[in-house]
């Protein structure tokens, strides 16, 4: 009996020591982790507020938040549950909060964070939508979490050449639901497809099969997220 108690006490003591050490390490790294998370979020927001063609900001420089307090001032809608909208048609979700900025020409620009279900879990996307007279125009995206996607395949989703395929999508592209080219039966790709990428976007087709061979699930997760974002804006911001 005494042997068992001794063993249990040794194991418990070890766990207590480990717990204290981990607590101290967490306290030491907490600020750095929060800063890294915030910096990643801020850089994603700045990225989606930049015109991908000209490289110029859609908003004035002083509107770009540099601290959490400044970012909080831009909150347009939020929810305690953490999820603002889930698309009934596609497995896409809009996360809280949604930010709103005022563009250089007075137009409203919404920055949304959302996720779709990828190969290994959540694929989190940040996207900027410009409110135009004709409807919502998707400016740019940044995929901020794809850590569970397959390295070399789905995990290439945020490579600049691939991410660009999801930029500059007009509202006509979202009206019937955005799709990846394989789901839109645009496969195999026709000759000269590269010069028609913008036309495909107008029809709601994002071509990814050439740059993400063998990985359809991850771009589909991004597309589903963008569809949910668009639906949310159509319902809440119009």
């Amino acid at each position: 009996m005494g042997k068992y108690i001794k063993t249990a006490l040794i194991l418990a003591s070890l766990m207590i020591v480990i717990g204290i050490i981990l607590g101290l390490v967490y306290m030491a790294t907490e600020k750095a982790m929060a800063k890294a998370d915030l910096n990643a979020k801020l850089s994603a927001i700045k990225f989606v507020l930049t015109n991908p063609r000209t490289g110029k900001l859609l908003v004035s420089e002083n509107q770009i938040p540099t601290t959490l307090a400044e970012l909080d001032l831009k909150i347009w809608k939020s929810s305690r549950s953490g999820i603002l909208y889930s698309d009934p048609k596609y497995p896409g979700f809009v996360l809280s909060p949604v930010y709103r900025f005022l563009g250089k020409n007075g137009e409203k620009i919404y920055v949304l964070t959302g996720f779709g279900v990828g190969f290994g879990g959540r694929v989190v996307t940040v996207a900027g939508f410009v409110q135009q007279k004709s409807g919502f125009y998707e400016n740019a995206i940044d995929v901020t979490d794809y850590s569970n996607e397959t390295p070399g395949m789905g995990a290439k989703i945020n490579d600049p050449d691939i991410r660009r395929r999801f930029f500059s999508i007009p509202n006509s592209g979202f009206e019937k639901g955005l799709k990846v080219n394989k789901d839109a039966f645009l496969f195999p790709l026709p000759a000269g497809y590269l010069s028609k990428l913008s036309q495909y976007k107008k029809k709601g087709i994002v071509v990814t099969s050439d740059v993400m061979t063998g990985a359809t699930i991850t771009p589909r997760a991004v597309v589903n997220t963008l569809n949910a974002m668009y639906d949310f804006l159509e319902k809440e911001a119009k």
């Binding site: 001794k6 194991l11 981990l22 750095a32 982790m33 569970n148 070399g152 063998g214």
Partner: protein
């Protein structure tokens, strides 16, 4: 050779993990993270360094507490120690190497179940002093970094035409399968055969001399 008996020179213990008992190519341990994260040289180096730190620290710490831990609970105790070091690495990578932390994702927490670390804890650190265990951890760790980096460089070079992101040859020479899971098996198969061949030739030469 650096085995559990610990009756070899410090130099022998350190160098064993580099080639003769290399954890990847000789002992064929911890292949899952090795194959999964060696898609690029950068990822391979990140995973190699993270595993190296955990291996060295856990070897040293387990050796330090080995006389206090009863045999019956040694495995849960070692796992707790290894998991703690992995958590420390995970927290630091989150705070200071955010992009690498994001890229390696799930594979960082999975270092806990890497057989190399548990294997060295059980077969060496639990039976030897702190200094020797530290040397063993360093040797095995460098051996692992070398192996995973070799795989990462090869796969990135043939799969993407780059090394550490720097272009080496044109896109038209890329063989995409190298960055895919089958490519990982092909590359490791090639290196295993190569090292086995070199080992056999050396053995044959030494037998002839004798």
């Amino acid at each position: 050779m650096a085995d559990s008996r610990g009756n070899f020179s410090n130099f022998g213990i350190f160098t064993a993990g580099l080639i003769r008992q290399n954890p990847t190519f000789a002992q064929i341990l911890g292949l899952c993270p090795t194959l999964a994260t060696s898609t690029t040289a950068e990822n391979a180096l990140g995973m190699g360094l993270a595993t190296f730190i955990v291996l060295v620290a856990s070897n040293f710490f387990i050796s330090m507490i080995r006389k206090l831990i009863p045999t019956e609970i040694r495995i849960p105790a070692y796992i707790a120690v290894i998991a703690s070091f992995v958590t420390v690495i995970d927290l630091f990578m989150h705070g200071y190497t955010y992009q690498m932390w994001k890229t390696l994702g799930l594979y960082i927490p999975l270092i806990v179940v890497n057989c190399i670390i548990m294997g060295r804890a059980e077969s060496f650190a639990s039976k030897n002093g702190m200094f020797k265990s530290l040397l063993d951890g360093l040797g095995m760790g460098f051996g692992f970094i070398g192996a995973i980096l070799l795989l990462g460089i090869t796969r990135e070079l043939f799969g993407s035409g780059t090394i550490f992101g720097y272009t080496v040859w044109a896109k038209s020479y890329e063989v995409f399968v190298f960055v895919l899971p089958p490519g990982a098996f092909l590359v490791i198969g090639f290196y295993l055969a190569l090292f086995h061949y070199i080992g056999s030739r050396k053995k044959a030469k030494s037998t002839k001399k004798a």
